[in-house]
Amino acid sequence: MTVTNPTIVLGMGTCGLASGAGKIRNVAQKWAESHSSNITIIPTGCIGFCQAEPIMDVIVNGGTRISYGSVTAQDAPFILDEVFVHKHYLLDGVLGQHPGRNNPIDGIPFVADHPFFKKQVKYVLRNCGVIDPSSIAEYREHGGFLGLERALSLGRGGIIQEVIRSGLRGRGGAGFLSGKKWQLASQEKSSTKYLVCNADEGDPGAFMDRSLLEGDPFSVLEGMIIAGYAIGATEGIVYCRAEYPLAIERLTQSIETLKKEGILEKPLDGAGFTFSLRIKKGAGAFVCGEETALMASIEGRRGMPRPRPPYPSVSGLNGNPTNVNNVETFANVPHILREGAESLASMGTETSKGTKVFALTGKINNTGLVEVPMGITLREIIYDIGGGVPDGKDFKAVQIGGPSGGCIPKELLDIRIDYESLKSAGAMMGSGGLVVMDSDTCMVDVAKFFLSFTTKESCGKCIPCREGTQRMYEVLEKITTPYSQMGSEQENLYRFNMVLHLENLARVIKDTSLCGLGQSAPNAIISTLRYFRDEYEAHIFDRKCPAKACRSLLTYTIDTDVCNGCTLCARNCPGGAIVGEKKKVHYIVDEKCTRCGKCFESCRAGAVLVS
């Protein structure tokens, strides 16, 4: 970026805004006024280090950018003074410098060397957190639309060959070879074809696609135009979930800009190929991330999947050949076309080329958005990039792929991230959600949580998913319910019976469900059962929760050697479950205990035992 006046770059993605970037912008403007100067504030997307938001970059020395993390509204004026008035750069909270084309400044570490960024490769996220997402000029400065130019010169067949050679696989989770998918659609003889971008991103806690749409929307759109040209589609639709208002706003603006620039709705080649784009907002259904349900939703019908074949490439939207791809998949395309297939194929493993964006969340020190080459180990992601598990707790497992994915336990930490390895470990790449769990997490509870999500989001069309996921959820509910709250002996026998059938039920649901939602819903149970069977058995047979997370399975007792009869616990107990006289040892009545833990918190002598 070439700038002259004091210029700062503020991370204004949803994460930045949520942490207070808006306040910092106001403070910075006030600072500029008080110094009788103008200040240029360039908004940018998410650079991925969400833990350190709000991030404020300053531009100095004619182009060097220095990043400061965890900036508060109070800190900001101080930093601005130090940097622009006193030319002191090495301050607390400095993340590092991006030298760009300039000479680096002595004494300031490089952002690229920061442990969070060191092992990352920003291929698809290269512009996020760097450029102003609404500026087409900046996008062009960074190579924007050179990919489209080259694509037009290669012609349809050439583009498809390039994408096939790059080895790009669908980033939405299924991992189908994208070039192959395009080839199938391009082979159909139809005057009407559609291109659809799946921006529904339903996995709870996943925000890879959101960051791309907010931080670098032009790259997604350029990818769509290239794909549309390749398969012969003249209309593109971005199906974006309504819960992403900022992404929709950026997309809408970007589409308008492209129309003004004559890239959309004007002929792009000598033959008069014209591409138009529109946005269709989702309406709150996770199942509409499934491509046939997504197409039904675009057609205005209830979002229920339908059997395949016929595949969308043959008969999709309104019965026409349609190609559906994920946001991240499209975002890779301009770079592949501009730099060549090798630029992607040179990274990754034999079968999984390129990079993958992951949303690293949960019990981890450095939460954020990371982009890593395929083949990197899980250990590297969690300990090198992620900075390990906080509070000195032990790592227990990481859930990959959202509610449909599976968990990877400690023993498999050295697993390489690629489609095949993850599948054989019982997990799946999914769209890229990574949730880290420590020893305080109960794996049965995790399975229950994910299953409660899938059963609510099931569209209800097919029997195994609609009925089966509800029954699996009920089993998990029953084994995390205490004995004293269960009805009768019959109920208990009944619970055992259901548990015995659990594995068969999970297998049948996986085997027979109509769509990916149902087919992968049992993964939560199957994979936790595979690696943490002992936890399940403790819940079922011993009626205990080893991680002490299932509150209702805990037992609170008073250590008779330690209790001094101060009556604090009895007075704080909301259920009146503690009996005892003053100065005499107290006793907790188990049937009345609601496991709220107030007694444990109140006791000053440490006499309350939790097991």
Binding site: R302, R306, G468, R471, L500, L505
Partner: protein, 586 residues
């Protein structure tokens, strides 16, 4: 385009080779090979839904189980339909269905006729290991024709697809999500308040007791047993080629005589034939057609639409109220009969109308709605007091222990029970049109139509068109069945694209023989057989033209004077209502 045979695909089903036409599914191939694969959500003739997963099979080389109803048969495919994995999957699915289904079988109206029962029995389900949340919904008794009991619904979607794709009414659809999914009218309105036309195709489609007709059995039995009223019954043309199916007789067997005999054994005093009233409808309607042809007026426009189908009439009232003037003002045969029984018949026999009880046996659920229409009846006396569907009729016979197949043949009572072949063919799509043409020809030319069988309007097809030459004038006619086709036709008429003079519309596939009150299941082969049987009945008649029916001639001479007379208008004609439309929010 190459015209000729499609390529044949050869594949193996359970190690036996079978060939089917390209484009067929694994299910088609299995049926050809004689292997029965269970289905629940499948409706022949509609695109596969893929919802129930009962039809899953193993295919060599594929990972998951494959739904045979939708997966295309491919060359050299090897399909296994009964492996332990497949059987286990099917059993588990049935168990899952049973887990949320009420265990009311013994007191359910589908006991013995329920597809879920059959599957549970076929797959020898001995226990249901999952029990927890279930579907508890209040039943909807609001409609005069159809009762909804959502608690028994297994969400197969057959009713929804039938109402949407065959009838294009969409009165009910899936709502909510996940386990809470349930089939409801929009905004959970009472069925009575919706655009439902009461055709009952959804009842035919429903595999369980979730949808059934409003029962008139109790009320009919009480009246029969009280003995206080003079009970008169009428029987529709479609019933006589259908009710035999319940008693092991072949589809289409003509059991007219047995019906008359059965009704009398139930305690019905006088047994009349709806076919007679159909002849009457022809007299009135053909005259109406001629009046509209010769002296057209703004409030008597062309094309003329038939009005004997109450499902069609309500459909037009909801969706095209601006076209109501096109409807014939004639009442349906059922209503004409009821009207005459309470006037002409009662008077002749010295009975007060309130002491006469009229029952009609119909293949139709919409007739229950029709009988209760406010336009009919006088004061508190209805023209038709109770309507029994074909199914209800057979239930009544079972209740009374009547051995239907062994009954002797009897005839209807002559006064309003003598019919011509024209009356019989009303049961099939095209029958009203053909009958009307036979009589209209005579009314215009004074001659008898020699070629009495009019093939172009016959058959199961949803839209049939023909041009008829009546002594030099040619008129274009159309015959439509199913409401989806009717909607399209009316749109074309409105747009001025078609130049029909006379249109017959039946709401049900194939006509009344495919009505919502017939035996369960949507089966076009059965309907086609019934259609053939209907035209056979016509061929057995000596008199095949309505105007030659001696009792019709007598009725006009004695009582009605002539078609379109003042008395005819009072007793045999009616008006219609403008109804709101959910689709356009009016």
């Amino acid at each position: 385009m190459i015209v000729g045979r499609n390529e044949m695909v050869e594949l193996k089903i359970n190690d036996r080779t079978v060939e089917i036409e390209e484009g067929g599914t694994i299910l088609d191939a299995a049926q050809k090979a004689g292997e029965r694969i269970p289905t629940l959500c499948h409706i022949k003739g509609l695109l596969p839904s893929g919802a129930c997963r009962m039809c899953v099979v193993e295919v060599k080389g594929r990972n998951g189980l494959v739904p045979s109803c939708s997966f295309p048969a491919e060359p050299s495919m090897e399909v296994l339909t009964n492996t332990p994995r497949v059987l286990n999957a099917r059993r588990t699915i049935v168990q899952l269905l049973l887990a949320s289904h009420p265990f009311d079988c013994l007191s359910c109206n589908r006991n013995h006729f329920c597809e879920l029962q059959s599957l549970a029995s076929q797959y020898q389900i001995e226990s249901v290991p999952f029990r927890g949340k279930s579907r508890i919904y209040p039943p909807d008794f609001s409609s005069p024709s159809i009762v909804r009991t959502p608690s028994k619904c297994i969400l197969c979607g057959r009713c929804v697809r039938t109402c949407e794709e065959i009838q294009d009414v969409s009165a009910i659809d899936f709502t909510r999500r996940g386990f809470d999914t349930i089939v409801l009218p929009a905004f959970n309105e009472a069925l009575r308040e919706t655009d439902c036309v009461n055709c009952g195709q959804c009842v035919l489609a429903c595999p369980t007791g979730a949808l059934h007709e409003v029962s008139a059995l109790e009320q009919v039995m009480r009246v029969l047993q009280d003995g206080k009223k003079h009970v008169v019954a009428q029987c529709a043309p479609a019933v006589r080629v259908s009710v035999g199916e319940f008693y092991g007789l072949p589809v289409g067997a003509n059991v007219t005589g047995k019906i008359a005999s059965a009704l009398r054994r139930l305690g019905v005093r006088t047994v009349f034939d709806t076919d007679f009233a159909a002849d009457l409808t022809i007299m009135e309607e053909a005259s109406e057609l001629i009046r509209r042809l010769t002296s057209p007026e703004a409030n008597r426009p062309l094309p003329l639409f038939t009005s004997c189908c109450p499902g069609w009439v309500k459909f037009l009232e909801h969706n095209f109220p601006e076209m109501i003037a096109h409807l014939s003002t004639c009442r349906s045969p059922q209503q004409m009969m009821g009207s005459l029984v309470k006037s002409y018949f009662a008077e002749r026999n010295g009975l007060r109308p309130e002491d006469v009880y009229m029952i009609s046996v119909m293949p139709c659920t919409a007739k229950k709605f029709e009988a209760a229409r406010p336009e009919f009846g006088h004061g508190s006396v209805e023209d038709v007091d109770a309507v029994l569907t074909t199914r209800e009729f057979s239930r009544l016979l079972d209740l009374y222990g009547i051995d239907f197949a062994a009954l002797p043949e009897e005839s209807f009572d002559e006064l309003l029970g003598t019919t011509s072949g024209s009356g019989d063919v009303f049961a099939a799509s095209g029958g009203v049109m053909e009958s009307a043409l036979r009589t209209a020809y005579h009314l215009i030319t004074g001659k008898d139509l020699a070629e009495i069988e009019f093939a172009p309007v016959r058959g199961f097809d949803g839209l049939k068109e023909a041009t008829v030459d009546i002594d030099g004038t040619s008129i274009k006619v159309a015959v439509v069945n199913t409401l989806a086709k009717a909607r399209r036709l009316v749109r074309n008429v409105k747009a001025g694209v078609s130049d029909y003079t006379f249109v017959e519309v039946m709401a049900c596939p194939g006509g009344c023989v495919g009505g919502g009150g017939q035996s369960y299941g949507i089966d076009s082969e059965r309907i086609k057989k019934r259609i053939e049987a209907v035209y056979e009945v016509d061929r057995t008649r000596v008199v095949r033209r309505s105007y030659q029916n001696p009792r019709i001639v007598a009725l006009y001479e004695e009582y009605l004077e002539k078609p379109g007379s003042h008395r005819s208008h009072e007793l045999l004609h009616t008006g219609y209502q403008v109804r709101g439309n959910h689709r356009s929010g009016v």
